[in-house]
Symmetry: C2
């Protein structure tokens, strides 16, 4: 186990009707709020009206930035910063999924930076402070509600980059599983894949002796495999939605990564797919993950796949190591298939045309080989893309 510093400062209000605490929470930090949201589903499910009602009852003034796209653009960030400055905003409330939250985090940091906020994403400028933000989560997926990371896309440069800073961690997040009852099947499925993938990134590492962290990761994986299909078949199953929602936060709030050298690899490989083709992140991950697993499986990594197969999929541990590993990978793919997500690049309309460009971009954006479990160079990434065709 490696040394680590643990700090997860976000307060979580989890469960039905926790929105009732919104007024008190916001008033701890401000009274002039930028309300950020996506495509309008928050109006359909009544969360928008409830937020407005609470703001009015608490004399909280607010301005709106709606229409945040999946794979949120730096242009939306710029727009949000402009409103915050014009209206002297002192708190940002993100209502939605990871895209809305990540956009809000970047507005919060960009507010205090004089240059273009893209500099903060690329790391060309340093974040010094950020407006306080809170979130109301409407889909179980990115886990952005409980961490200090964000992903922003710049279509002008074909870049989709991850960055992080403690200042952008939400002060509080309201997680009401009933808000996810109406999430469409394909988005529920993509969200489950995202949670699983975050957990894989933290689980498949070369760090020895982080036994507890690995068992915690398996707990999150089992939760996804147990409830993912249920949430699709019975969208209003509270138990399924609640377990997935809490799993999504724990998968990526640091708990599974503390003490491990968790250098991600599947995400960077996927990020170019959604940067170049604007496909759903979770769909891209479902396409990339099984080929990645098959590609990195070798004598040095096989034991980790055995651990995964035996502990998560209950595969007979007396079998041959490689047999267990392949069975575990097959079960992962079958599980993704049961969720109805795409499993090949062709299914999302991606051909061979840009594979080389994307593989090159993966290496560039990673500043060298990707991942640490089995470090991947340009040829490796290209081969994984090809296996995914």
């Amino acid at each position: 186990m490696l040394n680590f510093n643990y700090s997860i400062p976000t307060q979580i209000l989890f469960g039905k009707d926790q929105i009732e605490a919104l007024g008190d929470q916001v008033k701890k930090y401000g009274s002039k709020v930028l309300l950020v949201y996506g495509g309008g589903s928050i109006k359909k499910i009544g969360v928008y009206d409830k937020v407005v009602e609470i703001f009015k009852a608490n004399n909280i003034a607010f301005w709106e930035l709606g229409g945040i796209d999946p794979n949120p653009r730096i242009s939306s960030v710029r727009e949000g910063i402009k409103i915050c400055r014009e209206k002297d905003i002192d708190f940002i409330l993100a209502v939605g999924g990871g895209s809305t939250i990540d956009c809000s985090k970047t507005i919060a940091a960009g507010y205090y930076y004089d240059g273009d906020p893209w500099d903060l994403v690329t790391g060309d400028a340093e974040i010094e402070k950020a407006l306080p933000i809170g979130t109301i989560v409407t889909i179980a997926a990115t886990g952005s509600e409980m961490n200090s990371g964000a992903v922003i896309t710049n279509p002008e440069t074909n870049q989709k980059l991850v960055y992080g800073h403690p200042a952008i961690a939400p002060k509080f997040s309201i997680l009401d599983p009933t808000y996810t009852f109406t999430v469409p099947t394909n988005q529920t499925a993509a969200g489950v894949v995202d949670i699983i993938s975050h957990t894989f990134e933290n689980y498949f590492t070369r760090t020895k002796g982080a036994y507890l962290q690995d068992r915690l990761a398996e707990a999150v994986l089992k939760t996804c495999f147990t409830y993912g299909k249920t949430a699709i078949d019975e969208p209003k199953n509270y138990e399924a939605r609640a377990n997935l929602m809490w799993a999504s936060s724990l998968a990526i709030n640091g708990l599974l990564a503390f003490g491990k050298n968790a250098i991600w690899s599947m995400h960077p490989i996927e990020h170019e797919l959604s940067a170049y083709y604007d496909i759903t992140h979770g769909a891209g991950l479902a396409i990339i993950t099984p080929p990645w697993m098959e590609y990195v499986l070798d004598d040095e990594t096989v034991d980790k796949f055995v651990e995964y197969g035996v502990n998560v999929w209950d595969i007979d541990k007396t079998k041959d190591k490689y047999a267990i590993a392949h069975e575990a990978i097959d079960k992962t793919r079958e599980y993704f298939r049961s969720l109805g997500v795409p499993l090949t690049l062709k299914e999302v309309g991606i051909g061979e045309e840009k594979l080389e460009d994307m593989a090159k971009a993966v290496i560039e954006h990673s500043n060298g080989p990707v991942g640490d479990f089995k470090p991947l160079n340009y040829e490796d990434v290209l081969n994984i893309y090809k296996k995914a065709l």
Copy 2:
């Protein structure tokens, strides 16, 4: 899954040599420190000297309160408050195990209360604020370093009571597994039992659908069962000490209890043993736990024991439910035996004399039946004590 509010504000600095950060951490909060510790083992292992060196290098003034006993007394709390007031202390650093930390927490809260600090423990007076505290942990056991609870004993009234308040949660805790290399065998064993017991208290509940929390609890249990004996056989095994240390914090920082109705029962039954006989808390828990399990096992609780047996002990799930349950209980007892902890009251010199008094006290201090998994009345508790003879 029940609603919950999650807030774990303590920052954890985990790993070898993390003490180097002590000066910077303390200076965030104050410059006049009360250094609280126990029987002097911190001098033997060099932590005391290191703390003094860091304090001097950072111009931090400090006063000492040493000699805190296991099952810390309210008298030590009173003494600490007196020093804090006389010396105008602005920060408390607890170096040691749960007793030292719990005593420090209570000094921190008592500092701001004009009456006797025992009122804060009994709940006769409310905590309003507390001095900031930090901890350096030297044994993996109570998990007090990452939560807002404390246990204090009043020998005058034969009371050992638990209380809690957000204000007494440590600001930071330094967890260096190497500090636990020299913990004697019996204390290492008692600590492991304590971690296991905290996890059991959160695991054995009637709450349905908190699947993720139960899998997380199993992760902590497996960690204890994997590394407890190793830490005894190879005291300087870093991997074992590190996993146990992190397990001790996660077992009782809320993570396993959020969303569950975790009303403890083994701890209240044990607390009277150590209140009346001053035995080691972990030893008392090892004595109480298997009889408690056997006593509460019935048609309503058997499925939870099956879950425990199959998931934690890998017992064949096709067996009869009660066979699995009994096998799981037997394995728990055998595991405790392998650690060398006492398994009967007789072994720690407790006879039948005070069983009735203690059973009565358990009910009194719980204000009614104990626990929720299977609520226990006076006769039940007495029967468990008798089974433990």
